[in-house]
């Protein structure tokens, strides 16, 4: 393949992986924006999403097959259930801690993450599970690009979800309330916004998006594993920081950018795929040094 073909192919791969990162990063960023919590359990929510999707498929496939219709149905149901799980976690673990010191709530989030992935580890016996779907894996060419139907559907679905999310945040009343709470929670309460309800909604939406990303990753990679959420949690945080944490379009942009960086970074001579994660993390540290507020963030001074 000629160089520009490789680059074009990597552009596509990067955008696809980046859209997964972006979907997870949205939840990360929203929760940080609204209650200033780094939700360590968010990566595990993504993993739970993938496993729930697998369970749904294994139940439903004898009746409706494992093609696109059942995948879409499974995705919707999983998003709903995992979204509710997110709300439950928020209610049990985070809400009592909102007034506690920052360190305590961070450790609580870590505890939730441990509970989630250890539960799945015990249930799945710690093994890789095949994510069997009955969709076409035939490749076709679009100009120099080698594509499969699956990849095209996934990237379209991911971008559609991001677009819906963007509309939700910018155009609806709830989105407006979320943005307002991230600016000033106490004043929002005085203005008659049901703050706890909006926080719960934030967790619902963020967890649902992460679950969707989990299922898509399952379809894309073909196998899922209880530890799959760990690394993507880190990547999503990186993406959120690159875009400016707390800013939703920033999270999407950061995710796409990180995906592209990884795709192109592994093409640089001497940086093989085994250095991919080191590469993206070194990038995070550089970003924190030179542009700590992110691409879309404004520098803010903390008020007391």
């Amino acid at each position: 393949m000629a160089l520009h073909e490789i680059l074009l192919q990597q552009l596509f791969n990067g955008l696809l992986i980046g859209s997964f990162y972006g979907l997870v990063a949205i939840g990360y960023s929203m929760v940080y924006g609204i209650i200033k919590l780094l939700n360590f359990a968010h990566g595990d929510i993504y993993m739970i999403g993938a496993f729930s999707g697998l369970i749904f498929l294994s139940i439903a496939s004898p009746y409706i097959g494992a093609g696109w219709p059942s995948l879409i149905l499974g995705m919707l149901i999983t998003m709903l259930l995992v979204g509710l799980l997110g709300v439950l976690i928020q209610r049990v673990a985070y809400r009592p801690m909102l007034k506690a010191p920052r360190l305590s709530i961070l450790i609580t989030a870590l505890a939730v993450s441990m509970i989630l992935y250890n539960t799945v580890m015990l249930l799945s016996a710690g093994r890789y599970r095949a994510f069997n779907v009955d969709v076409s894996s035939e490749s076709f060419f679009l100009g120099p690009l080698r594509l499969t139907e699956t990849r095209v559907v996934l990237i379209v679905a991911a971008f559609a979800l991001m677009f819906i999310m963007h509309m939700f945040i910018t155009k609806t009343m709830y989105g407006k309330a979320m943005r307002a709470i991230s600016l000033d929670r106490d004043t929002c309460q005085l203005m008659g916004i049901d703050v706890f309800k909006i926080i719960a909604l934030t967790f619902f939406v963020g967890s649902a998006l992460a679950a969707a990303a989990g299922i898509m990753a399952g379809v894309y990679y073909g196998t899922i594993h209880f530890f799959m959420g760990f690394l993507i949690g880190l990547k999503a945080f990186t993406a959120a920081v690159i875009g400016g944490i707390g800013i939703i379009p920033g999270a999407m942009l950061g995710g796409l950018l990180l995906g592209l960086l990884e795709a192109f970074g592994t093409q640089i001579p001497f940086i093989g795929t085994e250095w991919k994660d080191v590469f993206s993390f070194a990038f995070l540290i550089l970003f924190l040094i030179f542009k700590p507020n992110g691409l879309l963030g404004r520098s803010e001074s903390e008020r007391m």
């Binding site: 961070l106 450790i107 505890a111 441990m114 015990l122 920081v241 994660d277 540290i285 040094i289």
Partner: protein
């Protein structure tokens, strides 16, 4: 009447002082007596116990050292550190490489591992600590993973197999190779760590850390340089971990990337948080719990981390300061 009034006025503070002195005296005697007994018990312990128990106790002392180091960062400075195993790995691999590849004497490798940890600590801490404190949590988490992956991918560290043939340390002509030798070595190390921690806690820097932890803005307003103080805590804590790592390498003589996983960072953090952050007895208690519970209850094996997760959650919800929390030095009721 006036005389009696005078007498009572004189008598009361006098009595109070006697009482206070007596209580202090009694407590100190009791405390020192207890410590003396404990030390004597621990010193003669290897003569009366099996190799297996000695191994567990050595592991316990090792945990005390590592967790006191982590406690400087988490407990004193109030920063969440999720990649402590990486600093531990930095120390272990510095000693490992210098000892097995260059044949350097063990004791000489310790300064190198401290320097390596300081460099790593500055590289991570400097960009991150200027920002919101909780960024450090994720960056250290990522650093932990990077370090493990780097160790795995490099040749000089022996890749996934790791390093073998790290020399045993010599101490006045005796080669330390028995488990009882390492028992005493880690025992002494733990005592040094406790003394250093205690001195740090009561130093000017220690009080600054406490102030920052309680109220960052007020501390800054009082002229404490928040970033520098935190950086000190981070770097000092990291060097503790590196020294413990060096000794770990000397004890094991072979190290591999599997000894420095995320789960190890979590166990160290668990020990600090369970017992009570920022307090030396609390950290020791936490280490005892984390080391001994899995040994006593071997049956819970696979459920161990799940149970620890629930334990951590419950402790955070009901006793956010840990099982044996620090008493506030200044009461707010006054």
């Amino acid at each position: 009447m006036a005389e009696t009034n005078k007498k009572t006025k004189l008598k009361n503070p006098f009595e109070g002082i006697i009482d206070k002195l007596f209580i202090m005296f009694e407590n100190k005697i009791y405390l020192y007596g207890f410590f003396a007994e404990l030390v004597i018990f621990l010193v003669i312990f290897p003569n009366t116990s099996s190799r297996f128990t000695q191994e567990i106790m050595t592991n316990l002392f090792f945990y005390v050292v590592v967790c006191l180091g982590l406690n400087i960062i988490v407990g004193y400075a109030g920063l969440l550190h999720l990649g402590y195993a990486a600093f531990f790995a930095v120390g272990a691999y510095t000693t490992g490489i210098l000892s097995s590849r260059m044949g350097m004497d063990f004791w000489l490798t310790i300064p190198f591992s401290i320097v390596a940890a300081v460099i790593a600590g500055l590289a991570i801490g400097f960009p991150t600590l200027r920002l919101r404190g909780d960024y450090l949590a994720i960056v250290t988490l990522g650093f932990g993973e990077i370090t493990r992956l780097t160790i795995r991918n490099l040749d000089v560290t022996g890749g996934a197999i790791g390093l073998i043939g790290i020399q045993r340390p010599e101490f006045f002509g005796i080669t330390l190779n028995q488990i009882s030798h390492f028992y005493y070595m880690f025992f002494i190390l733990a005592i040094i760590a406790i003394i250093v921690s205690h001195r740090l806690e009561n130093s000017r820097m220690g009080r600054a850390w406490e102030y920052i932890r309680e109220d960052e803005d007020a501390a800054a307003a009082m002229g404490i340089n928040v970033v520098t103080s935190r950086l000190y805590a981070f770097v000092i804590g990291s060097s503790f971990g590196a020294v413990a790592g060096s000794f770990f390498a000397a004890k094991m003589t072979a190290i591999s990337p599997d000894s420095f996983m995320f789960i190890h960072s979590v166990m160290f953090l668990m020990a600090v948080v369970l017992g009570g952050m920022g307090k030396i007895p609390g950290v020791v208690l936490g280490s005892i719990l984390v080391v001994l519970i899995p040994e006593v209850a071997r049956g819970i094996g696979p459920y161990r981390l799940l149970i620890f997760g629930f334990l951590l959650l419950i402790i955070m919800l009901y006793r956010p300061q840990g099982i044996w929390p620090e008493k506030p030095t200044i009461s707010t009721d006054e």
